[in-house]
Amino acid sequence: MTFVDNITEDTCANCGNVNVMKRERSLIINPLKTCQPLGAMYAILGVEKGIPLVHGSQGCSTFVRYHLARHFREPIEIAVTSLHESAAVFGGRKNINSGIKNIALRYRPELIGAITTCSSEIIGDDVFGFVDTTKRELKEMAEEEQYKGIDNVKVVPIPTPSFVGTHFTGYNVAVNSLIQNVTEPSDEKNGKINLIPGIINPGDTKELKHIMHLLGAEATYLTDISDAFDAPLRPSTESTPFFQKGGVTVDEIKDVSKAEGTITICKYAKSGAETLETTHKVPAIIESPPIGLQNTDKFLRNIQLLTDVEIPESLLNERGLLVDLIADIAARYLFDKNVAIVGDPDLVTGMARLVGELGMNPTVVCTGSDDVTFSEDMKKIAKEVGTDIDVLLDQDLRAFELYVKDNEIDIMLGNSDLRFINYETKIPLVRFGYPTYDRVGYHSNPIMGYRGAKRLTEMITNAVLEKYYDPYHWKLQQ
């Protein structure tokens, strides 16, 4: 059974329409997406003692380390097979073989994600075959006393050339590869729910855990970056080699076939859920993320579909606090403001719905993904909110910039790269999405769940107050 988003279509008389605009230029200017390997590396860093090994040039690892480090301000440890000219001519077999062994011997990890790139795919490396050979060699080595146990490491090949897809699809491929390679068939049920979070922040995975805790539902996160990308500084707890903290364990991944169901909270990350449904008969729910009031409601109802839980008073009170805030401030400060939203497709979808709930207009939504479900979701939201939405699909930040300069926009929601547009147009910017590198605290706090929606509402309202209300005016007195 596959549940799809069922936002009601008949709630408004003044029905909104969407106007989808795709990129016409051949050129891309300031992309809103990046390569598949980044999504795969992100996913593997959410596995306990998991190491991403990028089979490609050093830029393929070093750029990603830089990008993730400046957003999360955390150590981002990624290994690389250092492909050079000789590999381009003779193939990269030696590189990946010795790379896996190097990590297996020096780090003794639980899992290695062997992530392909443009170069290793173009030269035609059979990474699946190479990994198999290497595993056999590790097994032979393990017979020696000093290398005992070396073959326990799971090595998962992840095919992610950058000339296909985006970092979203790369994440999807990685999670699916983990399930295909690690998950074991089972007839048992363990009462748990699998959650595939997508590329989100640790603040959000922690919020999902908080919600599941209040519900009394157990979940396995595929994968779980909550501690890896937001880790305590406690030198006394560190040991060498350094591994990112937390993460889903290999044993937990083995067992996800025993779950009551899988919920994917970003639609682009659905393959893993589908594999679990078709191969292991674990029901799948493919959904928009719980951003905003109704999406969070929906998320809770979906949990209830899969497992027998009551919504506790504590969660209803969190909902009530959000409703209280919206009731108190939305009509007065936010009503009818035009909002421009840019970022990852599923996050933007959730954000657009929240903006509608606040009585604002999601005037334009923009994403770098070419996934058509994005426009379909926007159609439903336009109907629900009753405003027209311009949908910039498969677009770049330049298109968003020109749109914002040409139209009446009151507030922008997007990543730190929008700061230039903010300086120039003076349109207030609420930082949202990836990467957010010029403010602190964004990634470690939630935008999901009732508490996340409350935080977003506060951020949006404060930005409106700062921009549109004279600080000395009597209107601000009460």
């Binding site: 230029r25 300031n30 040039s57 050093q58 830089y66 030198p235 060498t240």
Partner: protein, 493 residues
């Protein structure tokens, strides 16, 4: 034997020759460097494309940067460096977009079909689109990446054709990511390309007897503007900058300078040598990191042009105001142990100044991509017992920290947050914390950042202490008072 095999390297013994400990009885063995990284290491090195776009081409302010790649390399090529630019152009006009070089990055967004059928058609269209989008740009630079290197797109042919069609320079940099052991190869290729394609193709509006080229200065956090200010006040005219805050045209008339100053000697000595060879222009290798090097080199430039008095004036003007504050930091930092993990040459630029002018002990230096000549300088300039590492990886850094317990590490963003987790402060030395770090005031900024990081009170509060004395006693505790914030200016005056 000066070589050292770290414990973490016993499975990869070939790393031994990349690690060197300086002893009095050193033989002349070289440190192995500029070779391919061992697969499976957590290296901080980048790719060849990173060296050409990220360092050389991307700093120029009036050029459209087109990355011929699937989307990833384009995304990473944007916003990766902190080299601001001002809109002023050599002819006195203003470029319509400020910081154009850090605001926009373009790419061809190659897909699977392009990989199969070739990407040159898309590259052509992308360049035409780019020119339409930013018609005021002076030139268009295109960069090869792994993909376009492997599928064999003839970017030079496209560049030639479109240069004629658009009436402006379109330059192809053949810097496929895998085409060398590190980003250093990208610097080299970009130097050669710029020399072959551009230098000597335009003439400056006017020249003087005091025209210099400032080569290998990329204006990280405004470094270039500090040096440029000193030179200007001495009466020296910076005719061409390679490539911080530079314009395309001044690159084209680099052959008209009377003297070239080479600041980053790893990434840009190539072009100074080529210019000397072809045009006879001499070059000086210069160093402005720290007070002493800055004084020495301003004097050397003064001597070259007969501007000795002017040089002294500049030195006096900018050295005097920082002296007292710098002395304060030296007093506070004396005896602190430090590592310098640089990308290229900063390890040997900074080791002596940090020892002599800040009183710190440089106990290890490392470089991602320096070559043999740079490692010779590192060896010369560090103290006995110091460790020198080529292309260090994370495990090695962990072992070093466990053994040495340094007080601070100067490194990059990839090391910084790991080092913090181990309880050691770290500042970014590739990009900076609060730069500029060059020149007199820049060195003061560096000292201040080091001091701030070392003395931030948090380093004394890392762990919960169940047996702590009561708070009142703690106020007199030496560790706390060492850690407390003191104003350098207030203390000095």
């Amino acid at each position: 034997m000066p070589y050292k095999l770290f414990d973490v390297n016993k499975e990869i013994p070939e790393r031994k020759e990349h690690v060197y400990v300086k002893h009095c009885n050193d033989d002349d063995e070289d440190i192995k460097c500029n070779t391919s990284t061992i697969p499976g290491c957590m290296t901080a090195r980048g790719c060849v494309y990173a060296g050409s776009k990220g360092v050389i081409g991307g700093a120029i302010k009036d050029v459209i940067q087109v990355v011929h790649s699937p989307v990833g390399c384009t995304t990473y090529g944007g916003g990766a460096k902190r080299y601001p630019s001002q809109p002023n152009m050599p002819d006195g006009s203003e470029f319509p977009i400020d910081n154009f070089n850090i605001k926009y990055v373009c790419g061809t967004d190659l897909k699977e079909s392009d990989v199969v059928f070739g990407g040159t058609k898309k590259l052509k269209q992308a360049i035409i689109d780019a020119n339409k989008e930013f018609p005021y740009a002076t030139a268009i630079y295109c960069y090869a990446t792994c993909t376009t290197g492997l599928i064999g797109d003839d970017m030079d042919a496209v560049a030639k054709e479109l240069s004629e069609e658009l009436g402006k320079d379109v330059v192809a940099f053949n810097t496929a990511g895998f085409a060398g052991p590190s980003q250093s190869k990208g610097h080299h290729i970009a130097n050669n390309t710029i020399f072959d394609r551009l230098v000597g193709t335009k003439e400056p509006p006017k020249t003087t007897e005091y025209d210099i080229g400032l080569i290998g200065e990329y204006n990280i956090d405004g470094d270039l503007w500090v040096i440029e200010k000193y030179l200007k006040e001495m009466g020296v005219n910076v005719l061409s900058r390679f490539t911080g805050d530079s314009t395309h045209d001044e690159i084209c008339w680099m052959h008209r300078t009377k003297l070239n100053l080479v600041r980053c000697q790893r990434s840009a000595t190539y072009i100074a040598e080529l210019i000397e060879e072809k045009y006879g222009t001499p070059y000086l290798k210069v160093d402005f990191f720290s007070v002493q090097y800055c004084v020495d080199n301003l004097r050397a430039i003064g001597r070259h042009f007969g501007l000795e008095e002017e040089a002294e004036k500049v030195i006096k003007k900018y050295l005097y105001p920082i002296k007292e504050e710098l002395a304060f930091y030296k007093e506070k930092l004396t005896g602190k142990k430090v590592y310098i993990f640089s990308g290229g040459p900063k390890s040997w630029h900074l080791s002596t100044p940090i020892e002599n002018e800040l009183g710190m002990e440089v106990i290890a230096v490392a470089s991602e991509f320096e070559h043999a000549d740079g490692f010779v300088k590192m060896k010369d300039r560090v103290r006995q017992g110091a460790t020198i590492v080529d292309d260090p990886n994370t495990l090695e850094l962990e072992e070093m920290i466990a053994n040495d317990k340094p007080d601070i590490i100067l490194a990059g963003i990839k090391e910084k947050y790991l080092v913090h987790k181990l309880g050691v402060p770290s500042i970014m030395i590739h990009s900076y914390e609060n730069g500029p770090y060059i020149g007199f005031e820049g060195f003061l900024n560096l000292a201040k950042d080091i001091y701030a990081y070392v003395n931030t009170p948090v380093w004394n509060m890392l762990e919960f202490d169940p047996n702590s004395q009561n708070e009142d006693n703690n106020i007199d505790n030496e560790t706390i008072s060492n850690g407390s914030k003191q104003s350098a200016v207030g203390a000095g005056k």
